[in-house]
Structure formats: structure tokens, C-alpha cells
């Protein structure tokens, strides 16, 4: 288990799982359902057949939402914005396909 698995165990039921075959890394994605940058990130992962899990943070109850934001804030030094991608335990905020290419291993 990665640290992210442990940290977000409290909200594991909220995650949507998207299957893929091209990475063994643990990828968690926090998004807004209304955000086009978030949609682009999901499309990038889908198009590249990368397995990941995501939560649309704007669509969950406020207590879980607050807990997720607290967890992100305390764990990572990044300012919270969306999409908030965590590859293993490495955070990457914002849509940046060039950085995705470097961070996500193809297997």
C-alpha cells in the first residue's frame, strides 16, 4: 500500500475506479465535475490506458470533502487546486501532460 492508500482509507468508498493496464503505480485523482482541466486529465489517463481512481470533490458530502481537503493540505506542500493528481506519493496539481509523461511509467 502507498501512503496515499493509507491516508485516503477513510474515503475509499467514494473513489471511482477506472481500469487500465499500463501502469502499476497507484494513481489517485481529485477533481471537480465541472472543471475542464479535470476532464482533460481523465481523458489523458483514459486514452493512455492508465488505471486510476478518482473523486469528484464537488459531488461528495461536505464532511468528507473537508476531510479530504485537510488531508491534502497536511500531507502535501502544494496549494489545493484541481485536478490534484497523486502518483504513488508524488503530487501534481493542474493539467500538465508533459509532466504526466515523466511521472507516470508506461509498463
Amino acid at each position: 500500500m502507498s501512503n496515499a492508500d493509507v491516508m485516503f482509507d477513510f474515503c475509499k468508498e467514494e473513489f471511482n475506479i477506472v481500469d487500465g493496464s499500463k501502469t502499476s503505480q497507484k494513481i489517485s485523482l481529485f477533481t471537480l465535475s465541472t472543471c475542464m482541466w479535470c476532464k482533460k486529465t481523465k481523458k489523458y489517463l483514459n486514452d493512455n490506458n492508465i488505471k486510476y481512481r478518482f473523486i469528484d470533490v464537488d459531488k461528495i458530502d461536505k464532511n468528507t470533502k473537508k476531510a479530504i481537503l485537510d488531508c491534502l493540505r497536511k500531507t502535501y506542500k502544494e496549494r489545493i487546486a484541481f485536478p490534484f493528481l497523486i502518483v504513488d506519493d508524488q503530487p501534481l496539481v493542474g493539467y500538465d501532460p508533459e509532466k504526466y509523461k515523466k511521472l507516470i511509467k508506461r509498463e
Partner: protein, 118 residues
């Protein structure tokens, strides 16, 4: 115009762009996603909060995020695009760009206050 309809939201955004001498994003899919996001926020919050930022749902805490957000003029002036790329500088496409990551200009204390009052 009725901002609670898709046509109304499109007309509103066109009017905002025209008034400020900005371009609307010309990528059809991106523009559709942005308009849908604004409409969704209008319908659930009562105001067209920026679709790319987490709103508290409380107007008094989100007032600076209501589209066009308070930060759009400065972002377009400095970077050529607003935070979500709905509004672009009139010369944006002359630079050969497709999209632009604009750093968050919203003061962190306003964001934290909204996050604490979800």
C-alpha cells in the same frame, strides 16, 4: 438573458467577452465543457461560480469567483487567459497556443475561508 439555460449562459459569456474585448475559447469541446460547468454551478448554487475552482456554495464566500471572476482581467492582461481559459486575450491565438496554465491569483486566505465554510 436567462443564465439558467445553456443558450442564456452562452449569450452571457459572449457578452462578457465582447464588453471586455476578450475572445471566448474557440475549441468547441473545451467551450462546451466550460459552459456546462458554469450552468451546473448556476443551477446548484444560484450563481455562475468558476467551474475550475471549488465553490463553498455560499455566495458571500464565493463572490470573487462569480464568472467573470475578479481575477480574470489581471490574468488576461498578464498571461493572456483567465484561470479556466474561458476568456482569452484578443491576440491569444496569434501566439500559437492551445491552452495555458494560469497560476491561481486568488488570495489563499479567501480560499481557506471558503474551504472552512463548505
Amino acid at each position: 438573458m436567462n443564465l439558467s439555460t445553456k443558450d442564456g449562459m452562452i449569450q452571457y459569456c459572449k457578452q462578457v467577452a465582447k464588453t471586455n474585448n476578450w475572445n471566448l475559447n474557440k475549441d468547441k469541446e473545451t467551450l462546451k465543457d466550460l459552459i456546462d460547468g458554469l450552468l451546473n454551478n448556476k443551477l446548484r448554487y444560484g450563481y455562475q461560480s468558476c467551474p475550475c475552482r471549488l465553490a463553498s456554495g455560499k455566495r458571500e464566500l464565493d463572490h470573487d469567483l462569480i464568472c467573470p471572476c475578479d481575477y480574470a482581467p489581471a490574468d488576461i492582461k498578464e498571461y493572456g487567459a483567465c484561470y479556466c481559459n474561458l476568456y482569452l486575450a484578443s491576440n491569444f491565438y496569434e501566439k500559437g497556443l492551445e491552452f495555458l496554465n494560469v497560476p491561481e491569483r486568488r488570495p489563499i486566505d479567501l480560499q481557506r475561508k471558503a474551504e472552512e465554510n463548505l
